[in-house]
Assembly symmetry: C4
């Protein structure tokens, strides 16, 4: 079974997810700067989620690049990943409209954590089909960067109840780590991850 | 006539259907767990419909896999299937916002039934073009799993007026049957269905 | 320049147009049949517009089938067609929510007319590139079916102010003519139109 | 790494951006011409933004036409372009609903300017990969038309506070310049831009 439609369908769903988030930026009635101010937290949370969805699209792109065929388990693992990503617009809006309070911050981290876990599940489903000696199995390797991200998300959930900004700082740091390709980190993590991390 | 655009168009429509359902999860004003509670039935109905749309996408994927070309009748049969699927977000929201009462539960079953009937119609349109000895005609075979699903949907409609939870139980069971690939059932239904059922 | 992206982009836009129309089916608060009744005109106008958008997608599919390459004029002609189609959800909702009154009925006809004119413009832009002896120029031929449709749309606009149902009857008839492939009509119109009309 | 998915994903996002703008055309309750009048500025701003998004899609199409492969930097540059374009529906609605007042007009120009800058950044990322002697580097050449557009956007921002219509006039002029392919201008700008400008 070819992978073309799985890619096309995922592209469609991710394109919609990334775009409908902007619908939460409700058009203000005023036309001065003050009328834009209430939108600032929603705009900031939009940027953060845009980067996260962008990271997942990039990683999905790289993952499927190394995949040659798909089966039923992979289709469902992919649908599970898209399910968690589909909740991102909801938690983004909830977080932004409530000025980054504890519970929304924690739930946001939970959705990111489940998205990360689903991505691993998808990658493993593909490796199970491609075989332990496939290019992907080697490329996915230890997946240290992904593992650290998931540990940080898990940490952010309780921290959101201590100080919400702590969870926020973690989300920004994880986003920057994936967004800014640091050649030193890339090298430290080893070349075998090269095909997967941050698109380098 | 190639099948590429029919696949691409269907992917687009199904991607939008599956994604706009999440727009019904209206962002709550509060930030405590209590403010999430009213969303629970809507969330549960979202999960159920997500699985159903996912099943249809998987089955559509398998069906087109075995198709080599399309004609006007197939284009319209496909549009009919997409029409019924496009009503899923509406009935999902109606069902979830009204805590699974009788009429919404019955209408939900009706939309699922019509989607199932449209799928059969689409498969038959393709078989009519491909010929009775085509790979698809053999693969589609007796379609026992699909037939049982449609009978169960038809049963759920009157049962929704007896006890709504009975219809709900049927929907969950049908979803699980397609979602969880049971090798024993697969074998019992025979290999000829292998290309169609639940992505195995 | 290849035609692949023009097809993919058009598929995306048409998929969204056909799907967002269903968002106008606002979820009713009640759960009895009476609460569904106000949705009936909106539902009927949804079906009508779904068929029209489906016709355009089918015709677009056939048109591009006979096209080998595109240029800037074709890209813009295609965007013009998509522009008029993008207004269909608006006029559909306006018509349905106002129980098919005169002005919305007339504006609906106007949008259909402009869509039809844009389609001709697109076809001519392609023929200008492909040459007067191309397969498409022969296939598009006299385009009697399209011409009759456009004349009927133009008639429906003033008729909507006499009796709204007259315009409605015209829209339903045009939709049926394209939807139901009548072999006799097909033959009468000549084989050269075969590649274009209603997907047969 | 192939460019197919980058194109498909961008097509999806741009298709959604161009389509959701029409959702701002809220269905009026009345059915006379007077009830349509308040929609006029929103409709005009929709047309303007539709043309701008259309220009970007055309230019993106041309740019990727000359691209053979992509890397991580290109993926992110493309996501940055899509980010700014995703804000177009918001600023379009804000501008239209407030009858083209100063601040919305200026912010609209700012989003167009950032989109233009992102496009240059994307083109440079591709040239960096393809090499300074690639077909694209020659085709992109001096990019005088793009440069003039960006200078005009930058001018429109302060002018919006002097007289909003001045900014509006600039936006319309820039749109027309890209929309109407003037062979004389094309020639004056040199053949090396031919692959990029307005789809000729």
């Amino acid at each position: 079974m070819g992978k073309g439609r799985l890619e096309a369908f995922s592209d469609g769903v991710i394109a919609i997810i990334i775009t409908i988030m902007v619908l939460e930026l409700k058009v203000p009635h005023g036309t001065d700067l003050a009328s834009l101010r209430p939108l600032l937290p929603i705009f900031l949370s939009y940027i953060l989620s845009y980067v996260f969805i962008g990271i997942y699209w990039n990683n999905h792109h790289h993952l499927m690049q190394a995949t040659r065929r798909v089966n039923g388990r992979i289709l469902w693992a992919n649908l599970m990943l898209l399910f968690w990503l589909s909740l991102v617009p909801f938690v983004t809006a909830w977080m932004g409209e409530n000025h980054f309070q504890s519970l929304p911050m924690a739930v946001y981290g939970g959705v990111l954590l489940m998205s990360g876990v689903s991505f691993v599940f998808l990658a493993r489903s593909i490796i199970a089909l491609e075989g332990p000696h496939s290019q992907l199995a080697r490329a996915f390797g230890s997946d240290r960067k992904g593992l650290v991200s998931r540990v940080l998300y898990a940490l952010a959930i309780p921290l959101a109840f201590v100080r919400p900004w702590m969870a926020g700082a973690i989300y920004v740091i994880v986003a920057l780590v994936w967004f800014i390709p640091d050649p030193r980190i890339e090298r430290a993590l080893g070349k075998e991850e090269g095909a997967r991390v941050s698109g380098e």
